[in-house]
Amino acid sequence: MILQHIADGILSGAIIALGAIGLSFSMKILRFANFSHSELLTWGAYFALIFASFTAAFGPGLGNPVGPFSFGWKFLAALVFTAIATSALALVLHELVFDRLRRTANHMTMVFASFGVALLLRHLVLLLFGGDPIYYSNALQFAVLLPGGVRVMPDQVFLLGVTIVVVVSLHLFLTRSRTGISMRAVSENPDLARVSGVNVASIVRWVWIIGASGAAVAGLMYGMTVQLRPELGFSLILPLFAAAILGGAGSLYGAVIGGLVVGLSENLSVMIIPTTYKPAVPFLLILAILYFRPQGLFGERQ
């Protein structure tokens, strides 16, 4: 059974990792803990739903199933659509709320504002889409038995692949592109970066775009493997923070490893403790790690 728990942990950890990347960047570069980040996952999932229903004329849900998967080529289009739409939403929030607050108040005020924004976003979903759970496809996908008695769903394996592609392209973006390099410079030392001619305002927008796109993909993945409901992101907020903080703010691979650690520890914990204590596991983990490394596993000491 341990192999099954490990497989489950990696698969659920991948979703957490994708969501945590944006959170980690915003903690480091935007310099506040954005509690509304998880709502971007929710919106990402629902944007994909909107896409699917608008294009319903061209085939069901996310397209005619291809191979062992529950979706078709439309899935990729939905992925792009939701990333753009969610980024737009994030930029609107940035302009209307967070950017204004940055000028008038300290970063803790932004944290509280993000609480309020989260409440707002979550319940707007409830008002617009209702509280019923929704599925992209009602067909149930059955797990495939792998050697070692491990069962996984084909969709999940595909999504793990998507995660890897996203992380690798993010890595290339951060190390090769001009914007990515500037972004790292801003994260290291915003004042120095500003003096060296980096357009910090544009970098901040890029952080929102990257964070929102990651969240959108994570939300879509979550919606595909579990379900869509207004509390989708809210129920993930703790694991997301756990992953971002475990990894250390601003670290791409830190967030990914943090996500995997959270996913694995949650799934493995039920082998030793009652399932009812499971939600506490990521926290005890954070506490243990922060006790010894207050800056997170991959964070830099201040």
Partner: protein, 315 residues
């Protein structure tokens, strides 16, 4: 007429019970800069301590000592304070959001313990029959609530006075110094670790007091009373009211609780019946909007911080 009065009394009891917890948070955040996102956990400790100390004994559940109300209050503060010491020692070396996430996690863990450790907390059923002291003093519900309100007002006033005494004083000056520049304070001979811990523990004790009063008033305690949303509520009260100002904290508790509950009232009045089921979502949207707008346009809260700290150093 009686109805309005009766409701107002009831409303004020809950608002001030929250107000006491807000005062505790104000000590931690407003004056010391400690981002405690685990308020619900300390309310829970206080609430359960009250239930265990003063409640009736139950089969297969610890406690039920049927001790007097006052013992319950002191015990609740003591338990929350003890919890504060342990948690503070583990977490207070963290800063900002890191402290927030750690304390948040602790509150979640406390709530899970309340939910699952049946021997101590009664588990999911909670603990019932916790005596409300005013029921022995009066028989009419209105009179009972009036007495309870008088008691809560007196306690709030006492807490307010006690806090004003210590924050508008050299002690409060050190808190503020640590909040503004810990390294400078340290280099001037202040011991930040000790002072942060003291402030944290005192704040936790007030949260415990708030939890105990809530439980005694409601007569029942269950894990579902201490969901993370309570922490959010208490924080909103502090930020809207004005952090680092004890009057602001109390005012914030009253105003935010009025908005929180009043928005339900208003929505139930203006929303047509066929959309009633959406009223909850509308209410939450409204609350979120009010919070964001108040932060945008009044980031210092209704009553902001005062410049002078010690009352002996006014110019």
């Amino acid at each position: 007429m009686i109805g309005v009065l009766s409701y107002l009394i009831f409303f004020m009891i809950l608002a001030l019970v929250f107000g006491i917890a807000v005062l505790g948070l104000n000590l931690q955040w407003g004056y010391t800069g400690l981002f405690n996102a685990g308020v619900a956990g300390f309310l829970a400790i206080g609430g359960y301590a009250m239930a265990i100390l003063t409640g009736p004994s139950r089969e297969a559940v610890f406690g039920g000592f049927e001790l007097p109300f006052l013992v319950g209050l002191i015990g609740a503060m003591g338990a929350a304070g003890l919890g504060g010491i342990i948690i503070g020692l583990v977490t207070l070396r963290l800063r900002g959001e890191y402290l927030a996430v750690a304390t948040f996690g602790i509150a979640v863990t406390i709530q899970l313990v309340c939910l699952n450790w049946e021997y101590l907390t009664g588990g999911t059923l909670g603990l019932i029959g916790i005596p409300n002291p005013t029921h022995e003093l009066a028989s009419a519900p209105l009179a009972q609530n009036a007495i309870f309100l008088a008691m809560v007002v007196a306690l709030t006033a006492l807490v307010y006075w006690g806090l004003q005494r210590i924050v508008n004083a050299p002690w409060g000056r050190v808190l503020k110094a640590i909040r503004e520049d810990e390294i400078a304070a340290e280099s001037l001979g202040k011991n930040p670790a000790l002072i942060r811990l003291t402030s944290f523990v005192l704040g936790c004790m007030l949260m415990g007091l708030g939890g105990a009063l809530y439980v005694a008033f409601i007569g029942f305690v269950s894990p579902f009373d201490f969901l993370p949303i309570i922490t959010f509520q208490i924080w909103t009260m502090l930020i809207v009211g004005g952090s680092a100002n004890n009057r602001g904290a109390i005012l914030g508790a009253i105003v935010v609780w009025a908005v929180w509950t009043g928005s339900g009232y208003i929505i139930s009045q203006i929303v047509p019946p066929e959309f009633q089921a959406q009223s909850g979502a509308m209410q939450a949207v409204l609350i979120g909007l009010i919070l964001v707008l108040s932060l945008l346009f009044r980031p210092r809260g209704l009553i902001g911080e005062k410049l002078h700290v010690s009352r002996h150093a006014k110019l």
